[in-house]
Amino acid sequence: MPGQKFGPAWFPGLIAIGLAICGALLVRAGLREHAPLFAMPQWMQRQRPRRAVAMVLAGLVAYILLADALGFHITGVLILAVWMRALGASWRVTALVAVVATVVIHFAFYRVLRVPLPWGVLERWAF
Protein backbone atom coordinates (compact mmCIF):
# COMPACT_ATOMS: atom_id res chain seq x y z
CA MET A 1 0.00 0.00 0.00
CA PRO A 2 1.54 3.28 -0.97
CA GLY A 3 1.92 6.02 1.63
CA GLN A 4 1.34 3.65 4.51
CA LYS A 5 4.06 2.27 6.69
CA PHE A 6 2.13 -0.72 7.98
CA GLY A 7 0.36 -2.24 5.01
CA PRO A 8 -1.33 -5.59 4.53
CA ALA A 9 1.95 -7.47 4.04
CA TRP A 10 3.28 -6.53 7.43
CA PHE A 11 1.29 -8.97 9.58
CA PRO A 12 1.76 -12.10 7.42
CA GLY A 13 5.43 -11.17 7.05
CA LEU A 14 5.90 -11.21 10.80
CA ILE A 15 4.13 -14.57 11.01
CA ALA A 16 6.42 -15.97 8.34
CA ILE A 17 9.54 -14.81 10.19
CA GLY A 18 8.23 -16.36 13.40
CA LEU A 19 7.42 -19.66 11.70
CA ALA A 20 10.85 -19.78 10.07
CA ILE A 21 12.62 -19.27 13.41
CA CYS A 22 10.45 -21.84 15.22
CA GLY A 23 10.87 -24.30 12.36
CA ALA A 24 14.65 -24.00 12.52
CA LEU A 25 14.63 -24.47 16.30
CA LEU A 26 12.40 -27.56 16.03
CA VAL A 27 14.63 -29.08 13.36
CA ARG A 28 17.63 -28.49 15.60
CA ALA A 29 15.87 -30.13 18.56
CA GLY A 30 14.89 -33.08 16.36
CA LEU A 31 18.41 -33.55 15.07
CA ARG A 32 19.78 -33.48 18.59
CA GLU A 33 17.44 -36.22 19.75
CA HIS A 34 18.07 -38.27 16.59
CA ALA A 35 14.32 -38.43 16.19
CA PRO A 36 13.06 -40.48 13.23
CA LEU A 37 12.13 -38.45 10.15
CA PHE A 38 8.67 -39.94 10.08
CA ALA A 39 6.78 -42.09 12.57
CA MET A 40 3.50 -43.92 12.05
CA PRO A 41 0.88 -44.00 14.80
CA GLN A 42 0.28 -47.38 16.40
CA TRP A 43 -3.07 -48.07 14.82
CA MET A 44 -1.54 -47.92 11.35
CA GLN A 45 -0.05 -51.35 11.99
CA ARG A 46 -3.42 -52.95 12.66
CA GLN A 47 -5.65 -53.72 9.75
CA ARG A 48 -9.14 -52.91 11.03
CA PRO A 49 -8.43 -49.40 12.37
CA ARG A 50 -6.33 -48.63 9.31
CA ARG A 51 -9.16 -49.56 6.99
CA ALA A 52 -11.71 -47.74 9.14
CA VAL A 53 -9.76 -44.47 9.16
CA ALA A 54 -9.19 -44.75 5.41
CA MET A 55 -12.93 -45.29 4.90
CA VAL A 56 -13.82 -42.30 7.04
CA LEU A 57 -11.57 -40.00 5.03
CA ALA A 58 -12.69 -41.51 1.71
CA GLY A 59 -16.33 -41.11 2.76
CA LEU A 60 -15.86 -37.43 3.58
CA VAL A 61 -14.12 -36.79 0.25
CA ALA A 62 -16.88 -38.71 -1.52
CA TYR A 63 -19.52 -36.56 0.18
CA ILE A 64 -17.78 -33.37 -0.92
CA LEU A 65 -17.61 -34.62 -4.53
CA LEU A 66 -21.01 -36.33 -4.81
CA ALA A 67 -23.44 -34.49 -2.56
CA ASP A 68 -24.52 -31.93 -5.14
CA ALA A 69 -25.04 -34.47 -7.90
CA LEU A 70 -26.52 -37.41 -5.95
CA GLY A 71 -28.21 -35.32 -3.30
CA PHE A 72 -27.85 -35.44 0.49
CA HIS A 73 -30.14 -38.40 1.06
CA ILE A 74 -28.52 -40.99 -1.19
CA THR A 75 -24.98 -39.87 -0.31
CA GLY A 76 -25.83 -39.79 3.39
CA VAL A 77 -27.24 -43.32 3.47
CA LEU A 78 -24.32 -44.63 1.42
CA ILE A 79 -21.49 -43.14 3.45
CA LEU A 80 -23.16 -44.03 6.75
CA ALA A 81 -23.44 -47.61 5.54
CA VAL A 82 -19.80 -47.72 4.43
CA TRP A 83 -18.61 -46.25 7.73
CA MET A 84 -20.66 -48.55 9.95
CA ARG A 85 -19.61 -51.65 8.03
CA ALA A 86 -15.97 -50.58 8.17
CA LEU A 87 -16.26 -50.17 11.95
CA GLY A 88 -17.81 -53.62 12.31
CA ALA A 89 -21.57 -53.10 12.68
CA SER A 90 -23.86 -55.90 11.48
CA TRP A 91 -25.76 -55.53 8.18
CA ARG A 92 -29.09 -55.30 10.00
CA VAL A 93 -28.00 -52.47 12.28
CA THR A 94 -26.23 -50.75 9.39
CA ALA A 95 -29.27 -50.71 7.12
CA LEU A 96 -31.61 -49.56 9.88
CA VAL A 97 -29.40 -46.80 11.31
CA ALA A 98 -28.23 -45.50 7.93
CA VAL A 99 -31.80 -44.86 6.81
CA VAL A 100 -33.19 -43.66 10.15
CA ALA A 101 -30.28 -41.29 10.87
CA THR A 102 -30.48 -39.76 7.40
CA VAL A 103 -34.22 -39.22 7.73
CA VAL A 104 -33.84 -37.71 11.20
CA ILE A 105 -31.12 -35.33 9.99
CA HIS A 106 -33.32 -34.43 7.01
CA PHE A 107 -36.18 -33.48 9.28
CA ALA A 108 -33.99 -31.67 11.83
CA PHE A 109 -31.98 -29.63 9.34
CA TYR A 110 -34.12 -29.40 6.19
CA ARG A 111 -37.51 -29.08 7.82
CA VAL A 112 -36.96 -27.51 11.23
CA LEU A 113 -33.82 -25.46 10.59
CA ARG A 114 -34.52 -24.86 6.87
CA VAL A 115 -31.03 -25.74 5.66
CA PRO A 116 -31.21 -26.27 1.87
CA LEU A 117 -29.69 -29.74 1.79
CA PRO A 118 -29.20 -30.69 -1.88
CA TRP A 119 -31.72 -33.13 -3.39
CA GLY A 120 -29.58 -34.01 -6.42
CA VAL A 121 -31.15 -36.76 -8.57
CA LEU A 122 -34.13 -36.90 -6.22
CA GLU A 123 -35.02 -33.29 -7.06
CA ARG A 124 -38.37 -34.10 -8.66
CA TRP A 125 -39.55 -36.00 -5.57
CA ALA A 126 -38.43 -33.25 -3.20
CA PHE A 127 -40.84 -32.62 -0.33
Binding site: L80, F109, L113
Partner: protein, 493 residues
Protein backbone atom coordinates in the same frame (compact mmCIF):
# COMPACT_ATOMS: atom_id res chain seq x y z
CA UNK B 1 -34.71 -4.14 38.85
CA UNK B 2 -36.43 -3.98 35.49
CA UNK B 3 -33.50 -5.64 33.76
CA UNK B 4 -33.46 -8.54 36.18
CA UNK B 5 -37.18 -9.11 35.72
CA UNK B 6 -36.66 -9.12 31.97
CA UNK B 7 -33.84 -11.63 32.38
CA UNK B 8 -36.07 -13.92 34.46
CA UNK B 9 -38.76 -13.70 31.80
CA UNK B 10 -36.20 -14.60 29.12
CA UNK B 11 -34.99 -17.70 30.98
CA UNK B 12 -38.21 -19.02 32.51
CA UNK B 13 -39.90 -19.38 29.17
CA UNK B 14 -41.15 -22.89 28.33
CA UNK B 15 -39.12 -23.03 25.09
CA UNK B 16 -35.88 -21.95 26.81
CA UNK B 17 -36.42 -24.40 29.67
CA UNK B 18 -37.02 -27.16 27.17
CA UNK B 19 -33.79 -26.25 25.34
CA UNK B 20 -31.92 -26.29 28.65
CA UNK B 21 -33.23 -29.74 29.57
CA UNK B 22 -32.47 -31.20 26.14
CA UNK B 23 -28.97 -29.68 26.13
CA UNK B 24 -28.38 -31.05 29.62
CA UNK B 25 -29.21 -34.57 28.48
CA UNK B 26 -27.01 -34.10 25.40
CA UNK B 27 -24.14 -32.73 27.50
CA UNK B 28 -24.34 -35.57 30.01
CA UNK B 29 -24.23 -38.16 27.23
CA UNK B 30 -21.38 -36.50 25.33
CA UNK B 31 -19.41 -36.03 28.53
CA UNK B 32 -19.94 -39.59 29.68
CA UNK B 33 -18.81 -41.25 26.45
CA UNK B 34 -15.00 -41.29 26.27
CA UNK B 35 -13.74 -39.60 23.15
CA UNK B 36 -16.58 -37.11 22.96
CA UNK B 37 -15.55 -33.88 24.67
CA UNK B 38 -17.26 -30.76 26.01
CA UNK B 39 -15.67 -28.66 23.27
CA UNK B 40 -16.98 -31.10 20.71
CA UNK B 41 -20.46 -30.79 22.25
CA UNK B 42 -20.21 -27.03 21.76
CA UNK B 43 -19.03 -27.36 18.16
CA UNK B 44 -21.89 -29.77 17.40
CA UNK B 45 -24.43 -27.50 19.06
CA UNK B 46 -23.48 -24.40 17.06
CA UNK B 47 -25.20 -25.37 13.79
CA UNK B 48 -28.39 -26.07 15.75
CA UNK B 49 -28.20 -22.92 17.88
CA UNK B 50 -27.60 -20.95 14.69
CA UNK B 51 -31.34 -20.89 14.20
CA UNK B 52 -32.38 -20.06 17.76
CA UNK B 53 -32.92 -16.69 19.49
CA UNK B 54 -29.85 -15.50 21.45
CA UNK B 55 -30.77 -16.58 24.98
CA UNK B 56 -31.72 -20.22 24.27
CA UNK B 57 -28.72 -20.50 21.91
CA UNK B 58 -26.24 -19.47 24.59
CA UNK B 59 -28.19 -21.34 27.29
CA UNK B 60 -27.84 -24.61 25.42
CA UNK B 61 -24.05 -24.23 25.21
CA UNK B 62 -23.69 -23.20 28.87
CA UNK B 63 -25.80 -26.13 30.06
CA UNK B 64 -24.30 -28.76 27.80
CA UNK B 65 -20.69 -27.89 28.69
CA UNK B 66 -21.33 -27.75 32.44
CA UNK B 67 -22.99 -31.17 32.32
CA UNK B 68 -20.30 -32.63 30.05
CA UNK B 69 -17.44 -31.61 32.33
CA UNK B 70 -19.12 -33.31 35.29
CA UNK B 71 -20.16 -36.37 33.28
CA UNK B 72 -16.53 -36.85 32.23
CA UNK B 73 -15.94 -38.16 35.74
CA UNK B 74 -18.33 -41.08 35.25
CA UNK B 75 -16.23 -43.22 32.87
CA UNK B 76 -13.14 -42.27 34.89
CA UNK B 77 -14.64 -44.26 37.75
CA UNK B 78 -16.08 -47.08 35.67
CA UNK B 79 -13.73 -47.56 32.71
CA UNK B 80 -10.51 -45.86 33.79
CA UNK B 81 -10.99 -43.61 30.77
CA UNK B 82 -11.68 -39.89 31.13
CA UNK B 83 -14.98 -38.88 29.53
CA UNK B 84 -13.51 -35.49 28.64
CA UNK B 85 -9.87 -34.32 28.93
CA UNK B 86 -10.90 -32.28 31.98
CA UNK B 87 -11.23 -35.48 34.01
CA UNK B 88 -7.93 -36.98 32.90
CA UNK B 89 -6.00 -35.54 35.86
CA UNK B 90 -7.75 -37.78 38.36
CA UNK B 91 -8.93 -40.72 36.27
CA UNK B 92 -6.48 -43.16 37.88
CA UNK B 93 -7.40 -41.93 41.32
CA UNK B 94 -11.13 -42.33 40.69
CA UNK B 95 -10.67 -45.79 39.22
CA UNK B 96 -8.55 -46.84 42.19
CA UNK B 97 -11.42 -45.79 44.46
CA UNK B 98 -13.83 -47.92 42.41
CA UNK B 99 -11.47 -50.88 42.71
CA UNK B 100 -11.50 -50.41 46.47
CA UNK B 101 -15.31 -50.62 46.36
CA UNK B 102 -15.78 -46.89 46.84
CA UNK B 103 -16.98 -46.00 43.35
CA UNK B 104 -20.13 -44.54 44.86
CA UNK B 105 -18.07 -42.08 46.90
CA UNK B 106 -15.94 -41.06 43.89
CA UNK B 107 -18.99 -40.45 41.70
CA UNK B 108 -20.78 -38.56 44.47
CA UNK B 109 -17.77 -36.34 45.13
CA UNK B 110 -17.41 -35.71 41.41
CA UNK B 111 -21.01 -34.55 41.26
CA UNK B 112 -21.25 -32.52 44.46
CA UNK B 113 -17.94 -30.71 44.06
CA UNK B 114 -18.60 -30.06 40.37
CA UNK B 115 -21.74 -28.23 41.45
CA UNK B 116 -19.85 -26.30 44.16
CA UNK B 117 -17.06 -25.36 41.75
CA UNK B 118 -19.52 -24.40 39.03
CA UNK B 119 -21.51 -22.16 41.38
CA UNK B 120 -18.33 -20.54 42.68
CA UNK B 121 -17.10 -19.78 39.16
CA UNK B 122 -20.52 -18.40 38.28
CA UNK B 123 -20.48 -16.11 41.33
CA UNK B 124 -17.08 -14.75 40.32
CA UNK B 125 -18.28 -14.29 36.74
CA UNK B 126 -21.34 -12.34 37.88
CA UNK B 127 -19.30 -10.15 40.23
CA UNK B 128 -16.17 -9.63 38.15
CA UNK B 129 -17.40 -9.25 34.60
CA UNK B 130 -19.47 -6.04 35.03
CA UNK B 131 -16.77 -4.52 37.27
CA UNK B 132 -14.08 -5.27 34.69
CA UNK B 133 -16.31 -3.83 32.00
CA UNK B 134 -16.41 -0.51 33.88
CA UNK B 135 -12.63 -0.33 33.63
CA UNK B 136 -12.54 -1.64 30.09
CA UNK B 137 -14.81 1.16 28.86
CA UNK B 138 -11.79 3.48 29.02
CA UNK B 139 -9.57 1.13 27.01
CA UNK B 140 -8.11 2.30 23.72
CA UNK B 141 -6.45 0.30 20.95
CA UNK B 142 -3.20 0.26 22.97
CA UNK B 143 -4.80 -1.58 25.89
CA UNK B 144 -6.64 -3.96 23.59
CA UNK B 145 -3.45 -4.71 21.70
CA UNK B 146 -1.64 -5.66 24.89
CA UNK B 147 -4.62 -7.65 26.18
CA UNK B 148 -4.64 -9.74 23.02
CA UNK B 149 -0.86 -10.20 23.19
CA UNK B 150 -1.11 -11.16 26.86
CA UNK B 151 -3.80 -13.69 25.99
CA UNK B 152 -1.84 -15.21 23.15
CA UNK B 153 1.39 -15.36 25.16
CA UNK B 154 -0.23 -16.93 28.20
CA UNK B 155 -1.86 -19.53 25.97
CA UNK B 156 1.57 -20.51 24.70
CA UNK B 157 3.87 -20.06 27.66
CA UNK B 158 1.81 -20.91 30.72
CA UNK B 159 -0.24 -23.80 29.52
CA UNK B 160 2.08 -26.14 27.68
CA UNK B 161 5.18 -28.15 28.29
CA UNK B 162 6.71 -27.25 24.92
CA UNK B 163 6.31 -23.52 24.24
CA UNK B 164 8.05 -23.81 20.87
CA UNK B 165 5.33 -26.09 19.49
CA UNK B 166 2.75 -23.82 21.11
CA UNK B 167 4.19 -20.84 19.21
CA UNK B 168 4.07 -22.74 15.91
CA UNK B 169 0.44 -23.62 16.59
CA UNK B 170 -0.34 -20.00 17.45
CA UNK B 171 1.36 -18.65 14.32
CA UNK B 172 -0.54 -21.15 12.20
CA UNK B 173 -3.78 -19.85 13.69
CA UNK B 174 -2.77 -16.23 13.05
CA UNK B 175 -1.86 -17.11 9.47
CA UNK B 176 -5.31 -18.63 8.91
CA UNK B 177 -6.89 -15.48 10.32
CA UNK B 178 -4.92 -13.37 7.82
CA UNK B 179 -6.65 -15.02 4.84
CA UNK B 180 -9.16 -12.89 2.96
CA UNK B 181 -10.18 -9.28 2.57
CA UNK B 182 -11.00 -8.64 6.18
CA UNK B 183 -7.89 -6.69 7.23
CA UNK B 184 -7.26 -3.03 8.06
CA UNK B 185 -6.12 -2.30 4.50
CA UNK B 186 -9.01 -4.21 2.92
CA UNK B 187 -6.48 -5.88 0.65
CA UNK B 188 -7.07 -9.50 -0.47
CA UNK B 189 -4.45 -11.78 1.06
CA UNK B 190 -3.77 -15.45 0.25
CA UNK B 191 -6.92 -15.65 -1.86
CA UNK B 192 -5.43 -16.97 -5.12
CA UNK B 193 -8.31 -15.27 -6.89
CA UNK B 194 -10.79 -17.59 -5.21
CA UNK B 195 -14.07 -16.05 -4.05
CA UNK B 196 -14.47 -18.47 -1.11
CA UNK B 197 -11.04 -17.48 0.16
CA UNK B 198 -11.65 -13.74 -0.29
CA UNK B 199 -14.34 -13.83 2.36
CA UNK B 200 -11.91 -15.41 4.80
CA UNK B 201 -12.50 -18.74 6.50
CA UNK B 202 -15.69 -19.25 8.46
CA UNK B 203 -14.49 -20.40 11.84
CA UNK B 204 -17.33 -22.73 12.79
CA UNK B 205 -16.64 -25.48 10.21
CA UNK B 206 -12.96 -25.20 11.16
CA UNK B 207 -13.82 -25.72 14.82
CA UNK B 208 -16.09 -28.65 14.01
CA UNK B 209 -13.15 -30.14 12.13
CA UNK B 210 -10.54 -29.45 14.78
CA UNK B 211 -12.60 -30.50 17.79
CA UNK B 212 -14.97 -33.15 16.44
CA UNK B 213 -13.54 -34.74 13.29
CA UNK B 214 -10.00 -35.04 14.68
CA UNK B 215 -11.42 -36.65 17.81
CA UNK B 216 -13.45 -39.11 15.73
CA UNK B 217 -10.36 -40.09 13.73
CA UNK B 218 -8.51 -40.72 16.98
CA UNK B 219 -11.43 -42.78 18.28
CA UNK B 220 -11.64 -44.89 15.20
CA UNK B 221 -7.92 -45.58 15.39
CA UNK B 222 -8.60 -47.40 18.66
CA UNK B 223 -11.90 -49.00 17.64
CA UNK B 224 -10.61 -52.54 18.18
CA UNK B 225 -9.76 -51.92 21.84
CA UNK B 226 -12.82 -52.97 23.86
CA UNK B 227 -13.99 -51.03 26.91
CA UNK B 228 -13.97 -52.98 30.14
CA UNK B 229 -16.37 -51.81 32.76
CA UNK B 230 -15.58 -52.12 36.45
CA UNK B 231 -18.30 -53.85 38.43
CA UNK B 232 -19.55 -51.63 41.20
CA UNK B 233 -22.78 -51.12 43.07
CA UNK B 234 -24.12 -47.58 43.14
CA UNK B 235 -26.69 -46.73 45.76
CA UNK B 236 -27.09 -43.30 47.34
CA UNK B 237 -24.32 -41.15 45.86
CA UNK B 238 -24.87 -38.45 48.47
CA UNK B 239 -23.86 -40.71 51.33
CA UNK B 240 -20.78 -39.30 53.03
CA UNK B 241 -20.80 -36.03 51.10
CA UNK B 242 -21.46 -33.88 54.14
CA UNK B 243 -18.51 -35.47 55.96
CA UNK B 244 -16.30 -34.80 52.95
CA UNK B 245 -17.40 -31.16 52.76
CA UNK B 246 -16.59 -30.72 56.43
CA UNK B 247 -13.24 -32.46 56.13
CA UNK B 248 -12.01 -30.78 52.92
CA UNK B 249 -13.54 -27.27 52.75
CA UNK B 250 -10.15 -25.65 51.98
CA UNK B 251 -9.54 -28.07 49.11
CA UNK B 252 -12.93 -27.33 47.54
CA UNK B 253 -12.38 -23.58 47.87
CA UNK B 254 -8.77 -23.67 46.61
CA UNK B 255 -9.82 -25.77 43.62
CA UNK B 256 -12.64 -23.36 42.78
CA UNK B 257 -10.42 -20.28 43.08
CA UNK B 258 -7.56 -21.70 41.01
CA UNK B 259 -9.99 -23.15 38.47
CA UNK B 260 -11.75 -19.81 37.96
CA UNK B 261 -8.41 -18.04 37.55
CA UNK B 262 -7.05 -20.60 35.06
CA UNK B 263 -10.33 -20.48 33.18
CA UNK B 264 -10.18 -16.70 32.93
CA UNK B 265 -6.64 -16.94 31.57
CA UNK B 266 -6.83 -17.20 27.78
CA UNK B 267 -5.81 -20.49 26.23
CA UNK B 268 -6.07 -22.60 29.37
CA UNK B 269 -9.36 -24.21 30.25
CA UNK B 270 -10.91 -26.90 32.40
CA UNK B 271 -8.40 -29.65 31.56
CA UNK B 272 -5.34 -27.63 32.57
CA UNK B 273 -7.18 -26.32 35.63
CA UNK B 274 -7.82 -29.90 36.75
CA UNK B 275 -4.17 -30.92 36.31
CA UNK B 276 -2.89 -27.90 38.21
CA UNK B 277 -5.43 -28.30 41.01
CA UNK B 278 -4.65 -31.98 41.39
CA UNK B 279 -0.95 -31.21 41.65
CA UNK B 280 -1.62 -28.42 44.12
CA UNK B 281 -3.83 -30.65 46.22
CA UNK B 282 -1.08 -33.24 46.45
CA UNK B 283 1.52 -30.64 47.31
CA UNK B 284 -0.42 -29.10 50.19
CA UNK B 285 -2.01 -32.31 51.43
CA UNK B 286 -1.27 -33.69 54.88
CA UNK B 287 -1.24 -37.17 53.36
CA UNK B 288 0.42 -36.81 49.93
CA UNK B 289 1.53 -40.45 50.04
CA UNK B 290 -2.09 -41.55 49.65
CA UNK B 291 -2.49 -39.81 46.28
CA UNK B 292 -2.79 -42.31 43.44
CA UNK B 293 -4.02 -45.12 45.67
CA UNK B 294 -7.68 -44.13 45.71
CA UNK B 295 -7.72 -40.99 47.85
CA UNK B 296 -10.67 -38.64 47.53
CA UNK B 297 -8.90 -35.36 48.36
CA UNK B 298 -7.48 -34.68 44.89
CA UNK B 299 -10.78 -35.54 43.21
CA UNK B 300 -12.54 -32.94 45.34
CA UNK B 301 -10.09 -30.19 44.51
CA UNK B 302 -9.68 -30.96 40.79
CA UNK B 303 -13.37 -31.79 40.35
CA UNK B 304 -14.34 -28.37 41.70
CA UNK B 305 -11.59 -26.77 39.66
CA UNK B 306 -12.60 -27.97 36.20
CA UNK B 307 -16.22 -26.87 36.59
CA UNK B 308 -15.28 -23.45 37.97
CA UNK B 309 -12.91 -22.96 35.02
CA UNK B 310 -15.88 -23.15 32.64
CA UNK B 311 -17.50 -20.05 34.12
CA UNK B 312 -14.16 -18.27 34.58
CA UNK B 313 -13.47 -18.54 30.86
CA UNK B 314 -16.53 -16.41 30.15
CA UNK B 315 -15.11 -13.38 31.99
CA UNK B 316 -12.57 -12.30 29.31
CA UNK B 317 -14.86 -13.64 26.58
CA UNK B 318 -17.76 -11.36 27.51
CA UNK B 319 -15.78 -8.30 28.60
CA UNK B 320 -13.02 -8.20 25.98
CA UNK B 321 -14.00 -10.72 23.33
CA UNK B 322 -10.90 -12.73 24.26
CA UNK B 323 -11.78 -16.38 24.86
CA UNK B 324 -10.67 -17.97 28.13
CA UNK B 325 -10.72 -21.53 26.73
CA UNK B 326 -11.57 -23.46 23.55
CA UNK B 327 -15.28 -23.54 24.41
CA UNK B 328 -15.57 -19.77 24.69
CA UNK B 329 -13.49 -19.47 21.50
CA UNK B 330 -16.47 -21.05 19.76
CA UNK B 331 -18.96 -19.11 21.88
CA UNK B 332 -17.55 -15.74 20.81
CA UNK B 333 -18.47 -16.56 17.22
CA UNK B 334 -22.00 -17.41 18.34
CA UNK B 335 -22.24 -14.16 20.33
CA UNK B 336 -21.40 -12.13 17.22
CA UNK B 337 -23.92 -14.05 15.11
CA UNK B 338 -26.59 -13.38 17.72
CA UNK B 339 -25.87 -9.65 17.85
CA UNK B 340 -24.49 -9.92 21.40
CA UNK B 341 -21.12 -8.48 20.39
CA UNK B 342 -18.70 -9.08 23.26
CA UNK B 343 -17.03 -6.03 24.75
CA UNK B 344 -17.52 -3.76 27.75
CA UNK B 345 -20.66 -2.20 26.27
CA UNK B 346 -22.44 -5.57 26.24
CA UNK B 347 -23.55 -4.89 29.83
CA UNK B 348 -25.32 -1.69 28.72
CA UNK B 349 -26.65 -2.63 25.29
CA UNK B 350 -27.75 -6.16 26.09
CA UNK B 351 -28.06 -6.12 29.87
CA UNK B 352 -31.17 -8.31 29.97
CA UNK B 353 -29.61 -11.02 27.76
CA UNK B 354 -26.41 -11.02 29.80
CA UNK B 355 -28.25 -11.36 33.09
CA UNK B 356 -30.30 -14.12 31.48
CA UNK B 357 -27.04 -15.92 30.63
CA UNK B 358 -25.89 -15.52 34.25
CA UNK B 359 -29.20 -17.00 35.41
CA UNK B 360 -28.71 -19.93 33.06
CA UNK B 361 -25.29 -20.56 34.61
CA UNK B 362 -26.87 -20.79 38.06
CA UNK B 363 -29.77 -22.88 36.84
CA UNK B 364 -27.50 -25.30 34.93
CA UNK B 365 -25.30 -25.89 37.96
CA UNK B 366 -28.32 -26.49 40.20
CA UNK B 367 -29.92 -28.81 37.65
CA UNK B 368 -26.69 -30.79 37.66
CA UNK B 369 -27.61 -32.35 41.01
CA UNK B 370 -30.82 -34.21 39.99
CA UNK B 371 -29.74 -34.81 36.39
CA UNK B 372 -26.28 -35.90 37.50
CA UNK B 373 -27.80 -38.58 39.74
CA UNK B 374 -29.91 -39.77 36.83
CA UNK B 375 -26.81 -39.89 34.62
CA UNK B 376 -24.88 -41.90 37.20
CA UNK B 377 -27.81 -44.33 37.49
CA UNK B 378 -27.93 -44.98 33.75
CA UNK B 379 -24.18 -44.72 33.23
CA UNK B 380 -23.92 -48.38 32.30
CA UNK B 381 -26.48 -48.03 29.52
CA UNK B 382 -24.81 -44.88 28.19
CA UNK B 383 -21.39 -46.50 28.12
CA UNK B 384 -22.81 -49.45 26.23
CA UNK B 385 -23.74 -47.19 23.29
CA UNK B 386 -22.11 -48.88 20.28
CA UNK B 387 -19.22 -46.81 18.99
CA UNK B 388 -19.46 -48.33 15.50
CA UNK B 389 -22.88 -46.68 15.16
CA UNK B 390 -22.29 -43.55 17.22
CA UNK B 391 -19.18 -42.32 15.41
CA UNK B 392 -20.59 -42.49 11.85
CA UNK B 393 -23.81 -40.73 12.88
CA UNK B 394 -21.87 -37.95 14.65
CA UNK B 395 -19.66 -37.60 11.59
CA UNK B 396 -22.62 -37.16 9.24
CA UNK B 397 -24.00 -34.63 11.71
CA UNK B 398 -20.67 -32.75 11.53
CA UNK B 399 -20.87 -32.75 7.72
CA UNK B 400 -24.38 -31.31 7.68
CA UNK B 401 -23.54 -28.84 10.44
CA UNK B 402 -20.49 -27.53 8.55
CA UNK B 403 -22.60 -27.21 5.43
CA UNK B 404 -25.40 -25.40 7.25
CA UNK B 405 -23.35 -22.39 8.40
CA UNK B 406 -22.99 -20.92 4.90
CA UNK B 407 -25.05 -23.46 2.95
CA UNK B 408 -21.87 -24.21 1.06
CA UNK B 409 -19.95 -27.43 0.46
CA UNK B 410 -16.79 -25.41 1.06
CA UNK B 411 -17.63 -25.66 4.76
CA UNK B 412 -17.31 -29.44 4.55
CA UNK B 413 -13.96 -29.07 2.77
CA UNK B 414 -12.73 -26.80 5.57
CA UNK B 415 -14.00 -29.23 8.19
CA UNK B 416 -12.16 -32.17 6.65
CA UNK B 417 -8.92 -30.25 6.04
CA UNK B 418 -8.75 -28.78 9.53
CA UNK B 419 -9.85 -32.04 11.11
CA UNK B 420 -6.82 -33.73 9.55
CA UNK B 421 -4.52 -30.85 10.47
CA UNK B 422 -5.67 -30.94 14.10
CA UNK B 423 -5.26 -34.71 14.26
CA UNK B 424 -1.70 -34.57 12.92
CA UNK B 425 -0.86 -31.65 15.21
CA UNK B 426 -2.05 -33.38 18.36
CA UNK B 427 -0.38 -36.67 17.47
CA UNK B 428 2.90 -34.76 17.25
CA UNK B 429 2.54 -32.80 20.45
CA UNK B 430 1.39 -29.48 18.98
CA UNK B 431 -1.43 -28.11 21.17
CA UNK B 432 -4.55 -27.11 19.22
CA UNK B 433 -5.81 -24.41 21.62
CA UNK B 434 -3.24 -21.73 20.61
CA UNK B 435 -4.16 -22.21 16.94
CA UNK B 436 -7.82 -21.64 17.71
CA UNK B 437 -6.97 -18.60 19.80
CA UNK B 438 -4.85 -17.24 16.96
CA UNK B 439 -7.71 -17.64 14.48
CA UNK B 440 -10.20 -15.95 16.78
CA UNK B 441 -7.92 -13.11 17.85
CA UNK B 442 -5.81 -12.56 14.71
CA UNK B 443 -8.00 -9.83 13.26
CA UNK B 444 -8.28 -8.06 16.62
CA UNK B 445 -4.50 -8.20 17.08
CA UNK B 446 -3.70 -6.72 13.69
CA UNK B 447 -6.42 -4.09 13.82
CA UNK B 448 -5.41 -2.77 17.23
CA UNK B 449 -1.75 -2.81 16.33
CA UNK B 450 -2.21 -0.91 13.10
CA UNK B 451 -4.54 1.69 14.58
CA UNK B 452 -2.22 2.18 17.56
CA UNK B 453 0.75 2.55 15.23
CA UNK B 454 -1.08 5.14 13.17
CA UNK B 455 -2.10 7.05 16.32
CA UNK B 456 1.44 6.93 17.68
CA UNK B 457 2.96 7.79 14.34
CA UNK B 458 5.18 4.74 14.43
CA UNK B 459 6.70 5.30 17.88
CA UNK B 460 6.96 1.94 19.66
CA UNK B 461 7.21 3.60 23.07
CA UNK B 462 3.68 4.94 22.74
CA UNK B 463 2.59 1.41 23.57
CA UNK B 464 3.87 1.91 27.10
CA UNK B 465 2.82 5.51 27.69
CA UNK B 466 -0.71 4.95 28.98
CA UNK B 467 -0.66 3.51 32.53
CA UNK B 468 -2.86 0.45 31.97
CA UNK B 469 -1.40 -0.26 28.55
CA UNK B 470 2.10 -0.02 29.98
CA UNK B 471 1.35 -2.40 32.85
CA UNK B 472 -0.33 -4.88 30.52
CA UNK B 473 2.63 -4.64 28.16
CA UNK B 474 5.12 -5.33 30.90
CA UNK B 475 2.98 -8.21 32.16
CA UNK B 476 2.85 -9.68 28.64
CA UNK B 477 6.62 -9.42 28.28
CA UNK B 478 7.05 -10.99 31.72
CA UNK B 479 4.92 -13.97 30.71
CA UNK B 480 7.42 -14.65 27.94
CA UNK B 481 10.65 -13.80 29.68
CA UNK B 482 10.13 -15.34 33.13
CA UNK B 483 9.92 -18.97 31.94
CA UNK B 484 12.82 -18.34 29.55
CA UNK B 485 15.00 -16.79 32.25
CA UNK B 486 14.14 -19.60 34.64
CA UNK B 487 15.20 -22.13 32.06
CA UNK B 488 18.48 -20.28 31.42
CA UNK B 489 19.09 -20.04 35.16
CA UNK B 490 18.57 -23.78 35.55
CA UNK B 491 20.82 -24.53 32.61
CA UNK B 492 23.55 -22.32 34.06
CA UNK B 493 23.57 -24.12 37.41
Amino acid sequence: MGVLAQAFALVFDPYVLWVILASAAFGLFVGAVPGLTATMATALLVPVTFFMPPVPAIASIVTATAMAIFAGDIPSCLLRMPGTPASAAYTDEAYALTKKGEGELALGAGLVFSVIGGLFGTAVLIAAAPALAEVALKFSSFEYFWLVVLGLFSAVFLAHANPLKGIVSLLFGLLVSAIGLDNPAGFPRFTFGNAELAGGFTLIPIMIGMFAVSEIIRNIGSIDEPWEMAQTKIGNVFRGMWTLTKRYPIQALRGSVLGTAIGALPGAGADIAAWMSYAMSKRFSKEPEKFGTGHIEGIIEAGASNNSALAGAWIPALVFGIPGDSITAIVIGVLYIKGLNPGPTIFMNNAASIYAIFLVFILANLLMLPLGIAAIKCAKQMLRAPREVLMPVILLFCVVGSFAINNSIFGVVLMLAFGLVAYVMEENGFPVAPAILGMVLGAMLEENFISSMIKADGRIFAFFERPIAGSLGILALAVVSVPLLRRLYRAAR
